[in-house]
Structure formats: structure tokens, C-alpha cells
Symmetry: C2
Subunit: 248 residues, 2 copies
């Protein structure tokens, strides 16, 4: 069975000059792994039409699902919807359903030109509803276009996730040890070589004040249902090397 | 004068399955903008030799400076140094200076094979010293290869930054208003059109409990020394529209 894959495109100058710490991709990453969808890449790009076009075209061809955040508001720097329309040769136009939703939301006479811009999207886009501030996102082909404000993005993402094709969730376990990476590396590599249907990641940490540290060993597998056996191999190895370990 | 540009490559499965929130790119982004270096792209990729090779080759050609984090430790999943060697047809070999630093650091008899792996890098790489845990990063061509552990990466990044070619720092100002984006969008766009040497970003926020919100308007410019005039135009516009504003 071929893997269901995803790519995330974070659109926004504010990330690239460090004003904003992107947390949207981490939120989506956690949800995707739970849904059995393999996130292969995250790209942060600027508010630049050509770069948006090029990146969505490339991701469209590469991944099962593509998620973008940012740049769909009412201001001049919100160019994501128009850029995506251009990328797929779609007319950038008023979406009647989005227009109606927004028109009903704003007080009479307050649905101005700027707000109407939020109803502009590629022709035949499918709406992604926004339960918080109404202005919808949309899907065109395999591209899901979401806003950048985290509270809003999260609700919309969880809603759309319900309708995506899911894979078998990846199994995970984490083993913590007080041994350093360089102590366990050879033996850990041997365990990796004997368990090729699992992937063993090794994540060191240090406490520079206490001059101590250790490693979190993360075992993951798309295929294996039960990680007890490989965890036991790792625990035994740590014990032989004189370390302490516990399964997190 | 042509702009000095940068791209960041974050290497690590743990970011892509959401275990770790990447904060390294945000740290570097802030420092780069201060140094007058324009960060154009951040890419998060998996621990995969082909993807690392392809991405560093592309970034090498595209940006003045390229920074990678992650994958240079002693374990089997640390494949960054070898992949970068392959990407540039360089021999992946023991760096004598790195070997010496590590050998002197570890107690006699403790400089094992795993630890020696941390001295392996592309032939003729230039070391980036590590004041915390000794194991160095390296530079090859315009690629600066750093570890993923944030405390260590930060120290090494600040040290190497001293020796990079700097640009004229980008000027920034932030104006906060209680008006919504859709209220100010048209007038803000006009101000943008009259000040093409500045870039105006509009970042809305919402308090869903208080049902209030507003916008942070960020003005930035590589060319202009003084943003007083454009800030005054924005403040005047907000006042005419009946909003409050203050310069953050």
C-alpha cells in the first residue's frame, strides 16, 4: 500500500524575519502522524507571488496532501489566494458561497470591498469553513489553504482532517537513558540493523549547569503493531552498558 | 548593491512528526535580520541522504549563506555530514583538527569509534568550534553545518555570524491598532503604494473570549533609514478611521 504523504507551506515574511515563531506546522505535524499521514517536508516562504506559485506547483505534484497557512486575509499583503489561482491557471474570482457567508456575518453596509476580498479565490474552489471568524479557507486540487492565525487555523485544520484519507498510524515509543549518545551509538546501530521495519532516532539533551545529560531514543514504525520486543532489546543494551533507562 | 541572502535547512525526522518544535530557525531568523542578511527560505526535511543532498545543492546555488541544523552527532541516524560530502563530491573523512579537539576532550581510552565519527566531515571543511560540548560543526563552500541541540547551535551560530559579510540592517517599526484588518485594508494599501521602498505587513490577532482584536502593522525597509514619515501616515489614517494606535 503506498504511503499517504503531506507537505506544509508556511507563507509569511513575519516568520522569515523572526517576528513570529511558526507553531502551525508543529500542530499539523502532530495531527498528521496520528492520522497515519507522513509529513515529508515543511517550507517557509515569503509573501511573494512567484515563490508561492512555484512551491504549490511542486508540492502539488509531490505529495498526497498539501497545506498552506497565511496570506488569505483582506489586506494588500495577503496574496496567497491570487497566487494559487495563477499557479493552476484558475480564474481568481468571487466565490458565491463565501460571499454569502461573509455578507450574512457583517452588519448591513459593513461588508466593504476589503471584506469582499476574503471571498476571492480560485474558480471552483471548495470552501473550508471557519467557525471562529467566518472568512473561509479553501481547497483546490490537493491544496488546502488555511489562515495563519493559529487559533483559527487549528479549528479549520481539525475539521478538514476528518475528511482526509487516513493511513495506518505510525507506532511510537520513547526510551530515556542517562547514558550519552556516544556511549550507546554502536550498539544502537546494531539494533537498528536488526529491526529494519523500525526507525530509531536518537535525541541527546544536556544540562550545562549540572553537567549531565542523556538521550531520548525514539522508536517508530509504520509497519509494526507492537514495539515491546525492540524496546526490550534497547533496555537490555542500556543495562549492559551500565545505564539507567525508562520507557517514557 | 546586491542583497546578502540566506536559506536555512532544518534536518530531522523529529520535527516532521511533531515531537520537536523547531526553534532554531526563529533564533537564526532574528539574528540574520539584525545582521542585514535577508533570510529567504526555511526548509524542514527528513533524515534522508538524497533529500539532504538535493536541498543543500539547491540552496548552495540560490543563497549567499546556507545554514543547516541537525544530524551531526555520533549515532546511526546522524547522516548530515556524509550526505553533504556526497552532495559536493568530497571525500567523507576524518578531519585532523576535529579529531585532535575531541581526543583531548575525552578521558584516555574513552575516545571510541562513535565519538570519532564526530570528526568525520567533507575533506577540507573548515571547523565551527563548539564551546559547550566540543564536537565541532563545519563550513564547506557556503554551507554552515550546525548541530540541532538549541543551546549548542545558538552559541556556535553567534560565533560564526561575526565572520559573515553583513548587509545594512533592515529597519522595522510596529504600530498596533484596535481596528480590524478589514477596516484599514484599503487605506493601508494606498499608503503601501505611496511608499514602495517600504514593505507593510498586517498581522491580525483576536481575543475570542473578549470578542475583540486588532492588528499589528509592521513596516520594514532595507533602504529607508527613518520610518517616522510612513508611521505618521499610518497613524493619521487610523485616527481618521476612528481607531486608537500606538507605536510598539
Amino acid at each position: 500500500m503506498s504511503k499517504i504523504t503531506a507537505g506544509i507551506i508556511i507563507i509569511g515574511d513575519e516568520i522569515l524575519y523572526g517576528r513570529t515563531q511558526d507553531t502551525n506546522s508543529n500542530f499539523m505535524a502532530k495531527e498528521l502522524v496520528r492520522a497515519g499521514i507522513q509529513l515529508n517536508e515543511i517550507r517557509v516562504i515569503d509573501d511573494n507571488c512567484k515563490n508561492i506559485m512555484k512551491t504549490v506547483q511542486e508540492f502539488h505534484k509531490t505529495y498526497t496532501y498539501v497545506f498552506t497557512t497565511g496570506g488569505i486575509g483582506p489586506t494588500h499583503d495577503d496574496i496567497t489566494s491570487e497566487s494559487i489561482s495563477l499557479a493552476f491557471n484558475k480564474k481568481y474570482t468571487i466565490n458565491a458561497q463565501a460571499f454569502k457567508i461573509l455578507e450574512e456575518y457583517y452588519p448591513k453596509g459593513k461588508f466593504n470591498k476589503n471584506r469582499q476580498k476574503m471571498a476571492m479565490m480560485p474558480e471552483n474552489a471548495e470552501l473550508i469553513l471557519n467557525p471562529l471568524t467566518v472568512a473561509p479557507g479553501f481547497r483546490i486540487k490537493n491544496i488546502y489553504v488555511l489562515p495563519g492565525v493559529p487559533e483559527i487555523m487549528r479549528k479549520m485544520f481539525l475539521n478538514l482532517l476528518v475528511n482526509l484519507k487516513k493511513g495506518h498510524p505510525k507506532k511510537f515509543s520513547t526510551i530515556n537513558t542517562n547514558l550519552y549518545e556516544s556511549v550507546i551509538a554502536s550498539e544502537l546501530c546494531k539494533i537498528q540493523d536488526k529491526n529494519l521495519d523500525c526507525s530509531i532516532g536518537s535525541y541527546p539533551y544536556f544540562n550545562f549547569i549540572k553537567k549531565s545529560g542523556g538521550v531520548n531514543i525514539v522508536v517508530s514504525s509504520w509497519e509494526r503493531e507492537d514495539l515491546t520486543d525492540i524496546n526490550a532489546q534497547i533496555a537490555k543494551m542500556i543495562s549492559i552498558l551500565g545505564g539507567k533507562c525508562f520507557i517514557v
